[in-house]
């Protein structure tokens, strides 16, 4: 009984919070905060239960037949929990951050904002726990819909334009995915995600399998920002910083990446997909995206846009890890889902702090900010170094396993891509750090600096996520680390 209720409760904890928040009048700040935090904390507690259970081999599954042959399935397998834990943990921190941020910015419509914010998280955990492609698609499209109000939240012309671009990309991607899924169901009947894939024995022709793959990956590639479908992500950066942080660094883009992981491993089966000749093109596309987006990042003057192109680039690490085919590469790619999320959210929190405290939006304005805001800048430094792959920060672990995986499967070319990307990462991050720490300030900031350097609720979230990215890198070998959990989640993907 409890086994089927838990996944539902995990979705409901934020869904109900969101619905209640919608009905609150704008002025009920205290109550709204209490409901937000109650939802976020109770979700974490529920997930804690599930983690414990799944570790001991319990299966949590909820099945609701929508129509004959069409079930909504929520299932908590290790892979799902990896993503669920990431989103729920970061949701808590982002909520704290967002409450302070909107307070600081003085923007209106906060009930609407937090209502949709909670719905976004519900949709994300739904995506994570979806037990079949149909359920995945339902939550995937809901995520598109509920993020739109957050993108246009500020109501300025730029925000409205960003919203239009965002929808044009994601809804078109959704349609392509829908056609792919309907076709999949028509060909293979009601399929479920299962380790090792389900299509290998379906007896479908090569041409159909390839066409289907193109549709599915094409649809998912939009949210995952694969080249040339990445155009929406930098534009969407006009949203408030917490939205960029949680949604555009974690929830939305990871939904796409996670979908690709599910399709490759649990619909096709990674070895079957390789035998069909599908993995080389995918890996090449990912490699191209990595290099291309890094180059674009180098050219951005706007801090958030630079971070956005960096996201595009880093997301393709996950796809590359999936496409290299080999247990170690898989480990590196899938664990990057978590590692990149924690590091990138740190960077966006920091960018938001710079913008809110000192009105810094551009790279050139960062000079000397390290002395004015040392804690924020320290967190930013950890995130940026992690992105470059500096040991012992989390990003290093991902790259290490990606590299090992490439060697293991004899595809040394990807090592060159990784190395090149590391150099480019350094090229677009190190100057920021140099400006922040070593150049004298050009703006006349109040001296001596106030303590704390910015609102406490704005300061703690990035410091905590920076600490986490350090810890999960340092203790990657521990039993509780994302790496260990990823190993648990992916060990069944390869035929023995």
């Amino acid at each position: 009984m409890i086994g089927s209720a838990l996944p539902l409760l995990v979705v409901l904890s934020s869904l109900l919070a969101g619905l209640i928040i919608f009905t609150l009048p704008e002025g009920r700040r205290g109550l709204r905060t209490v409901i937000n935090l109650t939802g976020a904390l109770s979700k974490l507690v529920l997930i804690g239960f599930m983690l414990w259970g799944v570790y001991h081999g319990v299966e949590y599954e909820l099945r609701y037949p929508l129509l004959p042959g069409l079930d909504l399935v929520l299932r908590a397998d290790p892979l799902a929990l990896l993503f669920v834990t990431l989103s729920a943990g970061l949701w808590l921190l982002t909520t704290v951050y967002a409450i302070a941020y909107l307070e600081h910015e003085g923007s209106g419509n906060r009930s609407r904002f937090f209502g949709f914010f909670s719905l976004c998280v519900s949709a994300t955990v739904g995506i994570a726990m979806a037990g079949n492609p149909f359920t995945f698609f339902v939550f995937y499209e809901i995520l598109t819909l509920v993020t739109y109000p957050l993108v246009v939240h500020r109501g300025t012309e730029a925000a409205l334009r960003a919203g239009r671009v965002y929808l044009a990309y994601t809804l078109s991607g959704g349609v392509v995915l829908l056609v792919g899924l309907v076709w999949l169901y028509a060909l293979a009947g009601p399929v479920e995600f299962a380790a090792g894939g389900v299509l290998a024995d379906a007896g479908l022709s090569h041409g159909i399998l390839v066409a289907l793959f193109v549709l599915l990956i094409g649809g998912l590639g939009v949210k995952c920002a694969l080249f040339p479908l990445h155009g929406w992500l930098p534009v969407a950066m006009v949203a408030p910083a917490p939205v960029s942080a949680l949604l555009h660094a974690v929830a939305v883009v990871k939904a796409g990446a996670f979908g690709i992981v599910r399709v490759v491993y649990e619909i096709y089966g990674v070895e079957f997909a390789r035998d069909l000749g599908l993995m080389w093109p995918l890996a090449s596309l990912a490699a191209f995206t990595i290099i291309y987006a890094s180059l674009r990042a180098l050219m951005q003057e706007d801090l958030k846009r630079r971070l956005a192109f960096s996201t595009v680039s880093q997301l393709s690490y996950i796809v590359l890890g999936v496409a290299i085919v080999g247990p170690l590469a898989t480990l590196g790619g899938v664990v990057h889902l978590v590692h990149q999320g924690v590091m990138k959210i740190t960077l966006f929190f920091c960018a938001g702090n710079y913008a809110e405290t000192l009105h810094i939006h551009r790279v050139s304005e960062l000079n000397g900010v390290g002395r004015r805001m040392p804690w924020t800048t320290a967190a930013f430094t950890v995130g940026a170094l992690g992105m470059m792959g500096m040991p012992p920060i989390a990003g290093f672990v991902s790259k290490w396993y990606l590299g090992l995986g490439a060697l293991e499967s004899g595809q040394g070319l990807w090592i060159a891509v990784l190395a090149g990307s590391t150099l480019l990462n350094a090229a677009y991050f190190l100057p920021l750090l140099y400006r922040a720490w070593f150049l004298p300030t050009t703006a006349g900031w109040a001296d001596p600096r106030p303590r704390p350097e910015t609102g406490r609720a704005l300061l703690w979230p990035p410091v905590i996520t920076a600490a986490i990215s350090l810890l999960i890198g340092l203790f990657a070998a521990a039993a509780w680390s994302p790496l260990a959990w990823t190993a648990l989640a992916t060990r069944e993907q390869y035929a023995p």
Partner: protein, 460 residues
């Protein structure tokens, strides 16, 4: 008067629910009026399809009635609205339960007359002209239908649908009758290219009336067509005729959506959206011949139900904006998402159903239709279905985008927005939620539909 009418409507909804329950438990119901029985007397017949249509009418009508109690609170037009509204509901219900060709004609005329009177309610010039055109079209449609009835009676000597169905031959008389009925209903449903009368008539009517006309009345024509094409003529059916209707359906989807996208006035946009959505219903005719005919059938009926709720809710929401702002120019609705969040939420939620995005009833319907089209490898229809969804998203979000635009604080003072009573805002929201949640209980109507499933024999 308003509350009396609402009470009557509640009773009608209760009876519809009771009938549906009866049909679900014990199968289709035939009731000989006055005890005469067919072929001489007139029979009422309720199967799954009829029960669903009754339920749809009951639910949507109830919310429209609730909305109207606030809408007409201080308006003289309300005096005429209530009797006409009850008259229209009665006529619709009578149409859905008729099992007799001539009886259907009478109810069809009643529906038409009541609708035209409602459309002319405001008494203003554009509304009157639109109603006149509507009247001529609906009368022409009914007469074409009546001619077909005359031909069928001349050929087969019966009026009861089941009896005529049993005697029907694959011969010219049947074809002509069949073509007359199709064209007649084509007019009433406003399928492209015979849709010219619909947008002005629906857009110029008062809010509750627009909701009634777009949500329910056009469905009456489609219901009749369903009964005839699918349940009366299955053997004489030529798949090519289905493709002709399907092609016009596709044209309606694209033409209607593009026009909706170009409108400056919100209510016209919503009306053109109806033109587009009617096209979806016509995809049934080509798809019903495929291996997945049953799936297309379920999908279309589900779409009809979802659209009834969503479109009624959308028109109510649009009328709220018109009431509050005093105009419905889409560009001039800035800030409404902030001022009237409930209404905009209702608009968005009903839009989700019309776009066919999850988890709405429209999505499940679209999934079923797509399944049928994909399985049959009819990529033309697959493309039309998904393109229609994208275009719907384009015009719905065009409104939401304008509504989300922030009003500069300098202009905020000059913005005279009327505050609306709560009932006006919540009635569409709840109805939109009912339609959106249809996805979660889609299995109930589809099980009920089994009581009329024509594809148990047709599907190979």
């Amino acid at each position: 008067m308003p509350y009396f009418a609402l009470a009557v409507s509640t009773l009608a909804l209760g009876s519809a629910a009771g009938l549906a329950r009866h049909v679900a438990l014990e199968g289709a119901l035939r009731y000989p009026l006055g005890g005469w029985g067919a072929p001489l007397g007139i029979d009422l017949y309720v199967d799954g399809l009829a029960a669903l249509a009754l339920l749809m009418t009951g639910v949507v009508n109830w919310f429209i009635g609730l909305y109207a109690t606030a809408y007409f609170a201080d308006d003289r037009a309300g005096r005429y609205f209530w009797p006409l509204w009850l008259f229209l509901s009665g006529a619709l219900n009578a149409l859905f339960v008729s099992a007799d060709l001539f009886n259907l004609y009478v109810t069809l005329e009643l529906v038409g007359l009541a609708s035209v009177a409602l459309a002319a309610l405001s008494g203003k010039g554009p509304a009157l002209v639109a109603s006149m055109r509507y009247l001529l079209v609906t009368l022409l449609g009914s007469l074409l239908y009546l001619m077909a009835v005359a031909l069928l009676y001349a050929a087969y000597g019966a009026l009861d649908i089941a009896t005529v169905g049993a005697r029907l031959q694959n011969e010219p008389v049947a074809w002509v009758a069949f073509a007359l009925i199709t064209v007649g209903m084509w007019l009433k449903i406003a399928l492209f290219p015979l849709h010219f009368w619909l947008p002005p008539a629906h857009a110029n009517a008062p809010g509750p009336v627009s909701a009634l006309l777009s949500g329910l009345v056009v469905k009456a024509g489609f219901y009749l067509l369903l009964r005839f094409w699918i349940m009366l003529f299955p053997d004489t059916f030529d798949p090519r005729a289905g493709h002709v209707l399907g092609a016009f359906g596709v044209a309606a989807i694209i033409w209607g959506s593009l026009h909706a996208l170009r409108q400056r006035r919100l209510k016209l946009l919503v009306a053109y959206s109806t033109v587009a959505q009617m096209g979806y219903l016509f995809l049934l005719f080509p798809l019903s011949f495929t291996v997945q005919g049953a799936s297309a059938w379920s999908g279309v009926v589900l779409y009809m139900l979802a659209h009834a709720g969503a479109k009624a809710a959308m028109f109510m929401a649009a009328s709220n904006l018109l009431l509050a702002y005093g105009h419905d120019r889409i560009d001039g609705l800035s800030g409404s998402a902030h001022i009237m969040p409930v209404t905009l939420f209702a608009f968005g939620l009903s839009g989700v159903t019309l776009m066919g995005l999850p988890p709405s009833g429209g999505f499940v319907a679209k999934w079923l239709l797509l399944s049928a089209a994909v399985e049959a490898q009819m990529w033309f229809y697959v493309g039309a279905i998904v393109l229609g969804g994208l275009l719907a998203a384009a015009y719905v979000f065009r409104v939401l985008r304008s509504a989300s635009r922030i009003v500069p604080s300098t202009a905020a003072g000059t913005l005279a927005v009327r505050r609306l009573p709560r009932r006006l805002e919540w009635a569409p929201l709840v109805l939109a939620a009912v339609a959106a949640a249809l996805g979660f209980y889609a299995v109930l109507p589809l099980e009920l539909l089994e009581e009329a499933a024509p594809f148990t024999e047709v599907a190979p």
